[in-house]
Symmetry: C2
Subunit: 217 residues, 2 copies
């Protein structure tokens, strides 16, 4: 049976819709009182694993899921050995540098050397500031990164920005972007190599956004 790891949260609804179009109906995961983490597809040919964002590439890298859907932000932060298959287009957001709107900084290179930068994405932030040749002290947080500048702990943050509402509500402004992130279909390299056609059929159906042809899968 084919297992697909889906990220809970913002990407879930669009991920399920995309798989429905491809012929695999995991809509049971969207039911409000669903507590199950392993959910079979309507047709019974596949199952979805419902896991946290950061865990999708882990399940795919270890081959417990042959396919997965997760944001590019997570893939670039954790660098797991998975195949990047399709840019699904939805879930668009930017990895941005933001500061207090009162700070006067207008680009990341304005930041003072050795200032503190708070982020959930410290690997991505490290690569960005290394590239800028600007030494900063990264503070790893696991949530509500906007509190960093508000409490005075950090001069800036590196965080995902979708609508910008959280920034505005907290008096922060975006001054630089590291990259744009969208949802990606990823796969387990060995499973793809040994695939008799079933996985590739799904990948192609998701890629072309057309229904899976019924080749006995």
């Amino acid at each position: 049976m084919i297992t697909v790891a889906l990220a809970k949260g913002a990407l879930l609804k669009d991920s399920v819709e995309r798989f429905i179009k491809a012929g695999l109906d995991f809509s049971a995961v969207l039911e409000e009182n669903n507590r199950q983490l392993m959910v079979p597809s309507l047709c019974g040919r596949a199952r979805a694993l419902l896991v946290r964002n950061g865990d999708v590439p882990v399940y795919v890298a270890y081959g417990q899921a042959q396919l997965g859907v997760v944001g590019y932000d997570v893939l670039t932060e954790h660098q797991m050995p998975v195949s990047h298959l399709v840019d699904l287009g939805f879930g668009g957001c930017h990895m941005s540098v933001a500061v207090k709107s009162s700070s006067g900084y207008s680009t990341a290179s304005d930041l003072p050397p050795h200032c503190r930068v708070a982020s959930k994405f410290t690997n991505s932030a490290r690569a960005f500031f290394d590239e800028l040749d600007l030494p900063v002290e990264l503070v790893h947080l696991t949530g509500s990164v906007e509190l960093g500048p508000l409490t005075g702990m950090a001069e800036a943050i590196v965080d995902l920005v979708a609508t910008g509402r959280t920034l505005r509500e907290n008096g922060l402004i975006e001054i630089d972007q590291l990259f744009t992130s969208t949802a990606r279909l990823i796969g387990h390299p060995l499973s793809l190599r040994l695939d008799s056609g079933k996985i590739n059929d799904i990948v192609e159906a998701v890629r072309t956004n057309k229904k899976l042809h019924n080749s006995g899968t």
Copy 2:
């Protein structure tokens, strides 16, 4: 103003109650539609920072909060430079090793060498298995660790167990315990050293579970 970092989630209600008894009323953080992350106490002498579990020691270590409440599990996993002040007693749970009930293992040392163990607490798990002299491959997950054995990715998990309900619901049993965890009051070492008495008064009131005397704080 004194800032207290409180962990969202299971410890929040008891933490607020303990501070109310000590004379600092942060009950506004418990209101269902509260979206604020910085909440002043009723008396206006202090404020609470509402952050994720793992971020409490970060805000305290950097001195953005002089005090904080967080589980011992987080403190031992992340080893930040904070002062451990009071064992608050509530939020009791165990850091446990669990396996599928059908596995036949009855203690952690039964696990086969080089097997995979999934955990959110990989530092604590590493220390435990090193002490046992049992080499294992740790797989870091960020949530729903019980899926590790269910999908076949891991032989065992190391996770927090409070009531044991999640384990039972997933056909897992506890076979070993690393340590017992409870909520702890922690402090910023430098703030405590430079304290004119205000912080210490709160610490003493929380420790003795008696109301703060009004010494002009």
